[in-house]
Symmetry: D3
């Protein structure tokens, strides 16, 4: 893309090191400890037969997500939201985003009257926590659906998963579009965008914000292109993690 | 755009009836009662000399926003968030969006150590409440800044407002991109997008979500084009409302 | 009463300008935007077929009210109670007062197992917000009951409304009893009283408080006389607003 | 007044048995365990040198009150407000009433920059808890002021207490005005009134509510007369409790 | 034990003056006002036929407890937990301790599907409030069970109470083990222990904490011996309070 | 001890597999991911120069702890305490226990006016989470103190750590005392005890509870002996983790 080399030595269109430890949790029906460089998120999927009261009897399932950060995931400690007694706006917003991203690739009719709650807890934060969370959550979700099928809560021929889904951050720094921003880049970005993309390369969510100067259509297009390529790479990591040879505990 | 005529008789690229009652509130330093068709939002701007503790001594001002809905703004009554004792995720998310949108056109150095809080209270809701809120909030903000200048809290030659800002919703319904969705269209939209645009036509925020099927780049482009045109029209309404002849107490 | 002329030019026994915009809200089953001078309260009535669990099966309906103030209704901004996470004592107290006032003129047996919630949101405050709220709430209530009758939730011959109800503030300022106090008078009043009176001129509620010196029986009698006359005038405004010629959506 | 004899054998204008145990608490600067028949309220006064921040430097003191009920004070158990995480409307309303009643007889300038918090905790409830609380709170307040004088926080010649204050409930039952209602009468009362009266016989607060049929001026006058006489008797009990021979712990 | 005489004149192995006023509350099914010297706790037992939802249909009853302190029970006033909107860690911890202590002597099958809630409210605090609460709670519990038997909610031959239970604090002060610490000793104790013991002399709970230097096995043994003897004496007070001649209101 | 072999093959006096990953977190001043078999707790220590306001100017530091569990750490998902808006009694109780345990081995004068907050977040739970938390917290604390010394916030010759500290659970199952109970044993234990022991083998905390039948002195002694030996072994693991060869970033 450009000859610019970033502080961590990456090219502008290069992801950080991505690792996915599938089945990290012995207790959850699906789980993954995902890292995007220094960002580490534990994603667990909890499968329950049945749906919330408001959905009962409609023959549909429900998928939702909750995002949170450990108090010392970041460089300086933040008070716990449980201690403050209320959840902050940012936490709410990201939880809602993750839930929408996952529901976009789930056929809730095929899921049947089952509920899957995905918890994404950031153990260590270095930028891009919401995109790592979505990417890891998909892996946990896929395993939880498989679990439900084995337990016969989901029909043998039902295919609740319509596609895979991944997410990445992109941003403009000193005029240059860059992929997968760590914290030091994130705070300097003029424009910050998170995109959520399906395995087939379609958009589920596009959220771009001018942190500094407003941006134009040309910049928007450059960011989208970078992000689509990044999500394609993430899809590869997800497929590899979910490959049968790495069978889960 | 197309020959499709909507339930309310509008063309696909046509805004609903827009009205802005500038100076609706006798008490606030700036205010506007804005309506986008059946959506009515009261925007008030409260100017305070001084800034929050964490910003003290940096020679910068602060602009923030709070969004809320009256319990019976909608078709059926919702419990008050004050009664529930907590603010919902949607409320938080929209409040944060409005604040970011306004700050994008404010030079906080030029504002000086002053704080402006914009309250956007939805009195009646029929889709697009966040976009009406941003569009009306700009009018209230402009008047509050003018008030601060008259009271000498802001320097005579300072220009805290860098540009105007407006917002509109767009969506794809039955495959057709449409502008400014009322509630009945909003619930049917496959893709729903809110865009925030400056007076110069640059993006401040682009938030697109696939409510149904994921969308591709071509659809995204069509929505952005529609939205840019809509915001250009809204800018006209804002300018008219703020024109000196309609000067207010 | 006396020759004293008040700051706003009124006689001591004169109400401020009263306006009632019946049917202000397109969504509620009954509504009124009422103003007592600079005090503006939006009253909406939400009709629901059915009653709370604790009242089920007793053949009776339920009427309740919630009062709140927009953050910038007053001269300086107050934090939202939803943000503080708790409702203040004053808000609770006024909500309870409005509910009692309305229930005093409702035959809950005739209402049948239906619930009406009246929301009174102060859009602009200049003293007497609770009395304006009660007076406007009656209009919204009357329309909601009419709506329930049209929808056959209330029997054709049932008469749930036993009487009308209105409320006004009175106070002693510099030794002189005065009617309908705006904010500037309210803060100076030695004694402050709110009275709630039915259309037939009977008391529903009498709440008098010595803000300065305690008061004697003679002063109490003077205040009650003023208030009764004021409520009689308010009844006229309510009847006019509810007159068939001003038929509502 | 009438020949009617009540369930507990009292005449219509007779108080229940009143006892005041002054100095019940070894820790508080002033305290009283007061009973009106089966209603028992522990009132403690906490004296602090200094005032809340908002009052600092004005040379004035502050008196405030908090009312609460033990969970099993009543016939069936109520959940604790601490467990529910919020204070109910009734609790707030009564706390505010007690505070106003006490401040009406305090010269805050003479009190100096000192704060007195009165806690009124209902240990057993049988109607009239707020009136017992006010009556007992006065005794605790008087002792706390005396304590402040001894500790030289209050000037030797200052007289912060302008008068005494007491309160009683009155109501109309089966058409008959009655004094000091126990729970069984309270629930049957058509009109319920609490009055707060100074030692000199002036009104501090008059709160009358039609629980059943609205009431007229004649009934109101009868209730006020009954209540004034009852408060005069309560004043005697207060004076006796505070008499020097009953010196406090 | 030693020749040491304490500030209040007691021997190191001597309890403070213990009084138990059984049946203090006219409303509760069982109650006791217990005092350990200056510590006074009102214990009330509320009997309800039926159990919480999660226990329904298992043929077992439920016993639970809530502990709280009046704001001015202590030497300086503490804010109410209801006002703070949350219950503190200490309150939670003691409530749970009391509940466990009581359940240890209850046969929930014999209790049948009935619930007993014990409220322990500290009216005055001078150390050892949790141990006084447990000791008094047993008396209230015993009477509530007797009430349930009389009302036929509990079978005639069922014996839900397996044993009695009492509790006492012990501690090491200046190297000397002492029984039943008042506040002045409690704050100086190097090691602080609360023990809960059944009538048969078996341990239900042992909670020892090194407030200063850690302690060894020999010191632990000395404290346990002291505490066992103290609980034996408390059992005598409980039996005396519950003796038939002191029949309850 | 006995010939009994447990479900997981251990002897009754044998710990589960213990691992301590020192320095797991890149951001905290000290950290350890500790596991006791299937129980995994992430302990991070946050060092701040300065102390809370109430301790300012006393020349002493402060050490405190917060414990929490991820929602799906356990076999079935628990609602987040941040979502419930309040911290449960168990969480409070364990946080307080960990804080006391650590403070028992810290000389706060030697620590100087510095604050260390230890967060113990249970990532996976299989019994004994509080004891694993204390044991791991000590390692994080030791590294944070070393960090403070390197940054010169702590004097070169100061020795804030007086000793090490570890904790273990013991219990009686089917009459047999056993060490380090996993979840399946914990729920079956008649008596459950947690003990906290310093490196020198002294008790900091002893908390024994009869979950089933009350226990006698002989059983208590057997449990204490088992626990002391277990803590001695844990000390070995702590020393090994902190050995210089495993030096940390």
């Amino acid at each position: 893309m450009t000859d610019i080399v970033r502080a961590d030595g990456r090219a502008t269109d290069q992801l950080r090191e991505i690792t996915i430890e599938r089945g990290w949790s012995a207790n959850a029906e699906g789980s993954a400890l995902i890292s995007f460089g220094g960002t580490k998120v534990l994603c667990t999927a909890s499968f329950t037969n049945g749906v919330p009261r408001w959905l009962t009897g409609k023959g549909k399932g429900w998928v939702t997500a909750e995002y949170a950060m450990l108090p010392r995931a970041t460089n300086s400690r933040n008070d716990r939201e449980s201690v403050k007694g209320r959840i902050g706006g940012r936490t709410h917003e990201i939880s809602r985003l993750i839930g929408r991203a996952l529901r976009a690739v789930v056929d809730t009719k095929a899921l049947g009257e089952n509920t899957i709650v995905i918890d994404c807890d950031v153990l260590q934060a270095d930028g891009g926590t919401r995109t790592a969370a979505i990417t890891g959550a998909y892996v946990a979700l896929a395993d939880a659906i498989e679990w439900g099928r084995e337990k016969k809560f989901i029909g043998k021929n039902a295919t609740p998963l319509l596609d895979s889904v991944a997410a990445i951050s992109v941003g403009i720094i000193d005029g240059t579009p860059m992929l997968d921003l760590p914290y030091v880049e994130d705070v300097r970005a003029e424009t910050d965008m998170n995109i959520v993309v399906t395995g087939r390369g379609l958009f589920v969510e596009v959220q771009g914000t001018a942190e500094g100067a407003p941006f134009d259509k040309r910049e928007l297009d450059a960011l989208l292109e970078l992000g689509l390529a990044g999500c394609e790479t993430l899809k590869g990591h997800q497929l590899e993690a979910l490959a049968p040879s790495e069978a889960q505990a």
